[in-house]
Amino acid sequence: MTFQDLIFKLQQFWAANGCLIQQPLDLEVGAGTSHPETLLRVLGPAHWNVAYVQPSRRPDDGRFGENPNRLFKHHQFQVILKPSPDEVQDLYLQSLEACGINPRQHDIRFEEDNWESPTLGAWGIGWQVLFDGLEITQFTYFQQVGGIDLSPIACEITYGLERIAMALQKVDNVYDLEWAPGVTYREVRLREEIEQSKYVFGHVDGVSGEEFATHHRDLFERHYVFGQKLLGSVLVWPALEECLKCSHLFNILDSSGSIGVTERTAYILRVRHLAVAIARAYYESIKPVEVEQA
């Protein structure tokens, strides 16, 4: 099964099980959770089932293309089910079967792994799913987002696509994956990994560490201030995008070692502040729907 086949199979499976197939958020994010289809849609009473691929950037995990398991950018397949169906674990296992994994011939476990994102004011209860000892999925019952209790509870299933593909294709190096027939992951992504790693770790000719930091701090400020203005007009979607840009810029500042400890905490608090305000603004704006339904 090629990398792209894996995506097709998951999309087909979840579409057949009532999910709308969305597209990735066209911004730099660290995880599928940041996509408004998750971050905003899990709030409020409306039932909502959606699935999408999300390329996810983790500057800190950049390894210049030299590490067989770590990537600056990997791909998540994200499923949100609200409310969470009673048989959600079985549905998940069926999805693995659809990808060609026979659960009776492998050791599949649900081991405790709760999720928390201080910058999003969000947390949930759940597991990491282990496939013969390899973590292939994060499974979370969201409890709060933006400091708001969820009702009903949404279930988030996040598949690590590279890991599952490596297990299915039995390769030890992510770059050896077959993305499409005859095309390797290396051909598709290696150069990007090398160049992005150099960038986020500040290996840029003629740019001093100070200049690198100033540029990103400056961008952070501009996006932050503008995000607050957008929020002032209850333009929730654009405000969220500004917030996510800030979050990514912070990650770059952090991985390039541009910020000290006190500053680091201050940055995290600011992102959290904006993210929570956005979640609240969205929640307030959908309340009338709730009243209508009641």
Partner: protein
């Protein structure tokens, strides 16, 4: 006729670490609920857990609740009848309210007099009607370290029902019949795919190994024996002990096949073998290997990767050296275990390759050069970064070695180790393997060629974390690094404790996010065992140590009070855990303010105190000492300094005394005080000090029998008060022995 009660709460996978407590809770809560429901049971309330089921079985539960008899009081008898002998309206009203004829009312005696009363018998309900309340009590009564909202509620008027994980089925049988019960689902979540959980006679087998292949095949059962047998047929071993034995046996077989045995860290108590039975329902073992090149990594890295990250059992050869092999416990039984082996090997190899990469990269930068980078790692927002902490610990460790431990020759090494102790927080390996902090720093220091004293001090500085005398580190492990280690370990813990209290952090109830209790336990364990761990006999007081930290981290009055109370409580705990009598511990710690106490001195006293507490003289003194203290505390201000020696001083405070009993006590005090003080100052021979103190017993007794302290004559009264105060001060330097009075007499 009594019948069997069988309950199984079918759950989505519950964390393994919760199961031991849940097993106990299930039986306890179910017993309490049955009792509260007035349902008599015959035989024990038994319980079992697996990751997917919480089971309770009671061999026999009565068919009906016991009847409830209530006596309700009405008006007093004096107001029951009028002058005409007829019932008064209030008596008639009371009877009517309770649905009985006034003639049927009884008269009963109460502490307030004789009252009319009605005796109501409420006939017990059939058990099948009472059991739903037991279920509600059980579901609500189980406590989880973390509970979740899963859109559920119960019909008991309390609404929302949080639980450790979602409940998927409920087996609820009494005498083989289903007791109807529903866990409701929130309206906001209601949909064809979200339904109430309705009790039934059905359990489910293993998630994968039964033919339906998913949630496990539904299996109808009637009795517990049937239930247990059918579960086994469907690949679920209900008994935890059976699962553990199977695992231990399989591990042994596979280890022998690999030409070795299971690593002791994994096989021992509280090791991996105690954890894996709670991760599986149908255990079996598969073996795997990894490339031998990784054996060049430090053993700690290999075992941590295998045990903590992958739950794999490392295998060692006859000499105890790691082999390039591991054993994994799986939750399935498959046709081709080699498939699982290969995948497991791939995962482990990838992790080890990462570790190897970090190991090689980390060694390119010295620990000293990493100190600067600690600036980006936060210790606490009010206390700054780990760089600031490293610098504080460096100065404090230097002072402790030089002054508190009186080993100036070790001061430079202690300073260096203190400075470098946290440097490994900036290494990639520790970022990946946080449980190896300290350990890796020590290993990197060794690789850099730093002296044994320094690298061992770093390696072990997080220890001890347990309070038992045999808990690591041992004198043998510490070797030449013992004194340096003690200085750094004490300095780090003091810095954390004083620092966090000064920043307003306090452990409360079950919340102790910074692990301050553990820090305090480690600190006191080290101070209590200082001679055993380091060979030193110094006895630093808590106060001297805290004062040294306060030069760096000032404490305000509120924080100081809170810290003192906290430390006193923790020192009490540590000493009690060491098996010393609770009353003796309280006595030894209550004699003086915490600051003046040396934990080692407290231990030495506690070692000899039991030899005296049973003697009649000591009991005499203990009983009288409370009075001595009470009288002494009434005396204003400290007495003149000249009271300690015999004849000679210009103003002998006791010159006005004349009763033989008081003169005798003065003589005793004059004779014994220097002996006791000498012992206390030398810090040894506490046996002698207590013997001297106990000898006061008969004299104090006689004093109270013959002498009245609070006489009119001010000079005489003052002299007697002074005598009491001197005696009290002297004894309190040993212990507040009034704490040792047997419970019945105090």
């Amino acid at each position: 006729m009594d019948r069997e009660l069988l309950i199984e709460i079918g759950v989505e996978e519950v964390p393994a670490s919760w199961l031991p407590s849940l097993t106990t809770q299930l039986a306890d809560v179910a017993s309490a609920q049955l009792r509260a429901a007035r349902l008599n049971v015959d035989g024990p309330v038994e319980s079992w857990t697996t990751p997917r089921r919480l089971t309770v079985r009671v061999h026999r539960v009565a068919e009906r609740q016991t009847d409830l008899e209530e006596v309700l009081n009405g008006p007093p008898v004096s107001a029951a009848r009028g002058a005409d002998g007829q019932f008064t309206p209030s008596a008639i009203g009371f009877a009517r309210k309770n649905g009985v004829d006034p003639e049927a009312l009884e008269e009963i005696d109460t502490p307030k007099g004789r009252y009319l009363a009605v005796r109501k018998r409420q006939r017990g309900k059939a058990s099948v009607d009472a059991l739903p309340d037991v279920m509600t009590g059980l579901l609500r009564g189980l406590a989880f370290p973390k509970s979740m909202n899963w859109d559920a509620w119960l019909d008991d008027g309390k609404g929302d029902f949080r639980f450790g994980r979602p409940v998927r089925w409920l087996l609820f049988l009494y005498g083989g019949r289903v007791v109807p019960y529903d866990i409701r689902r929130a309206e906001s979540a209601q949909s064809p795919l979200v339904q109430d959980v309705r009790s039934g006679a059905t359990t489910y087998g293993h998630r994968f190994l039964t033919t339906s292949g998913r949630a496990g095949r539904a299996v109808k059962v009637k009795t517990f024996d049937d239930y247990k047998a059918r579960l086994l047929e469907h690949f679920v071993v209900l008994e935890r002990e059976d699962r553990r034995e199977r695992i231990a046996r399989d591990l042994e077989v596979h280890a022998v096949r690999l030409g070795g045995r299971v690593h002791r860290a994994a096989a021992g108590q509280a090791g991996l073998l105690d954890e894996v039975p709670d991760l599986v329902e149908w255990p079996s073992v598969v073996a795997g290997v990894f490339p031998a090149e990784f054996l060049a990594l430090p053993e700690e890295v290999l075992t941590t990767t295998m045990i903590h990250h992958q739950h794999y059992f490392p295998v060692v050869d006859d000499q105890g050296r790691l082999k390039a092999a591991f054993l994994a416990v799986t939750n399935v039984e498959v046709e081709k275990p080699e498939l699982i082996s290969r995948n497991s090997e791939r995962v482990l190899t990838a992790r080890l390759r990462d570790a190897q990469f970090f190991w090689n990269a980390d060694r390119k930068v010295t620990l000293e050069d990493r100190i600067g980078r600690l600036d980006t790692i936060l210790f606490h927002k009010k206390l700054g970064s780990y760089k600031a902490k490293a610098e504080r610990v460096e100065r404090l460790a230097e002072w402790i070695a030089r002054e508190a431990l009186a080993k100036p020759a070790e001061a430079a090494s202690a300073a260096k180790a203190g400075r470098l102790a946290k440097a490994d927080l900036g290494t990639d390996l520790v970022r990946e393997f946080t449980e190896l902090q300290g350990t890796m720093g020590g290993i990197y220091a060794r690789e850099e060629g730093l002296p044994e004293a320094v690298w061992k001090a770093i390696y072990y500085h997080y220890l001890p974390v347990a309070v038992e005398p045999e808990a690591p580190p041992t004198r043998a492990q510490l070797g030449a690094g013992a004194i340096c280690w003690a200085a750094v370990s004490i300095a780090d813990k003091l810095d954390t404790l004083v620092g966090l209290f000064s920043a307003g952090e306090r452990p409360t109830g079950s919340r102790d996010p910074y692990g301050l209790r553990r820090q305090a336990h480690g600190l006191f364990r080290t101070l209590v065992d200082l001679p055993d761990l380091t060979g030193l006999s110094v006895r630093p007081t808590v106060g001297a140590l805290i004062a040294a930290v306060q030069r760096e981290l000032p404490l305000d009055e509120v924080a100081r009070t809170a810290l003192t109370a906290f430390l006193a409580e923790r020192l009490t705990y540590v000493l009690e855990q060491r098996g010393y009598d609770v009353r003796n511990v309280r006595a030894v710690l209550a004699g003086r303010p915490l600051g003046q106490i040396s934990p080692l001195e407290a231990r030495r006293m506690l070692e000899v105190l039991p030899e005296f507490t049973g003697t009649p003289e000591f009991q005499q003194l203990a009983t009288a000492f409370k009075r001595v203290k009470n009288i002494a505390s009434g005396e204003l201000g400290p007495g003149p300094g000249a009271i300690t020696t015999g004849p000679g001083p210009v103003s002998d405070p006791y010159s006005v005394l004349h009763e033989p009993a008081e003169l005798a006590l003065v003589a005793e005090l004059t004779r014994r005080q220097p002996v006791i003080e000498r012992v206390l100052d030398s810090g040894d021979h506490y046996r002698q000090a207590f013997a001297e103190a106990a000898a006061f017993g008969p004299f104090v007794d006689r004093f109270f029998a013959d002498v009245f302290v609070m006489v009119e004559d001010p000079a005489l009264r003052q002299a007697r008060l002074h005598l009491m105060a001197s005696l009290s001060r002297l004894i309190l330097r040993l212990a507040d022995i009034s704490e040792i009075v047997p419970q019945s007499e105090s």
